[in-house]
């Protein structure tokens, strides 16, 4: 199995999502955990431990789970000794958290019709089921699907347009 630099960068970006999901955005060591996971993965590739390319995702995810576990164990050990007084390093900045990107997200959302915002909020933020949303907004199953995907698609277009302008 061969890996080009572009694929590696994609893995890095995606691993940051995974690690942040597990350790939280304010964890100062997200990038270290990602780097260690990638290093172990590359070593496994070099040693030809990944025979089926289609299992690369599960393999990488498994490696990352181990690194996360080890990191957690290390943090608890430190906490037991005296780390409460230790000053944390800067937290890793998640991709969507810079002020400019937050502004781009806000602008992209503000350009959506209110109905689109309502359906997206109900689904992604309030976590309502399709049935609940259909009932409260008077939509059929088919109308809900169309409305949700169009709203998300419009947001995506608005967002990338805004980012491009910046």
């Amino acid at each position: 199995m061969a890996l080009d630099p572009g694929t590696l960068e994609q893995y890095r970006l995606k691993l940051r999502y995974k690690v942040r999901w597990h350790l939280g955005s304010s964890c100062p060591d997200v990038d270290d955990v990602v780097q260690e996971s990638l290093t172990r993965f590359l070593r496994a590739v070099q040693e030809e431990k990944i025979r089926k390319p289609e299992s690369a995702g599960a393999f990488l995810s498994g490696i990352c789970n181990n690194v996360i576990q080890e990191y957690r164990r290390g943090v608890s050990r430190e906490a037991v000794s005296n780390s409460d007084t230790k000053t944390p390093e800067r937290a890793a900045a998640p991709e969507t958290d810079g002020l400019e990107l937050r502004e781009a997200i806000a602008v992209a959302l503000s350009r959506l019709p209110q109905r689109d915002q309502d359906i997206l909020r109900a689904f992604f933020v309030e976590g309502k089921s399709k049935e609940e949303i259909c009932l409260s907004m008077g939509l059929s199953d088919g109308q809900f699907r169309v409305a949700l995907f169009r709203a998300k698609g419009r947001f995506r277009e608005n967002y990338y347009r805004e980012v491009k302008q910046k």
Partner: protein
């Protein structure tokens, strides 16, 4: 698991992943998949942007000339694992070197919150900038004083005065 069999199924999966509602096995299965699937990862990214943009943020961010002013709109605690501390950390960008944090609505701060403030402080100082605080309540002020953080971070009670101090350090 067939992640592409139905677009709505995938959206629900992404939503539940972001809301941390998936069981460990399904979350692991989705993570293994999106690590190698561009399409699902892109949908996840957009879903996260939507969730963060539409979710009610407690932190107001505004810019007064070259100073970024951060203020909590609701009562907030800068304590270990608090949502507010996480949000403050997220918003505090590497590029920003003149930052004023309004602590008016901060009701409690602990060593994690102080540590994070000191981390912001060393970052801005390293970049020839400044971090200042305003409107700390009596309790927060007492913690800042007891830990001598106030000897490093200038604190003000008036925003105008605080903003002016960035030009005349």
């Amino acid at each position: 698991m067939q992640f592409h069999r139905d677009p709505l199924f995938r959206e629900e999966l992404i939503r539940d992943y972001l809301l941390k509602r998936l069981d460990a096995e399904t979350a692991e299965s989705f993570e293994s998949h999106y690590l190698v699937c561009e399409e699902c990862f892109e949908q996840l990214r957009v879903g996260e942007m939507l969730a963060s943009g539409l979710g009610r943020s407690k932190l107001e961010v505004r810019r007064v000339e070259d100073v970024v002013v951060l203020r909590f709109a609701e009562p907030a605690q800068l304590t270990r694992q608090s949502f507010e501390l996480e949000e403050l950390t997220r918003v505090f960008r590497q590029k920003d070197t003149k930052v004023l944090i309004d602590l008016r609505r901060v009701t409690k701060i602990d060593s994690a919150g102080l540590g994070q403030l000191m981390s912001f402080y060393s970052h801005v100082v390293k970049n020839q900038g400044a971090l200042k605080l305003i409107n700390a309540n009596t309790e927060v002020q007492a913690v800042l004083h007891a830990t001598k953080v106030d000897s490093l971070l200038e604190t003000y009670n008036d925003e105008h005065q605080a903003l002016k101090s960035f030009d005349h350090p």
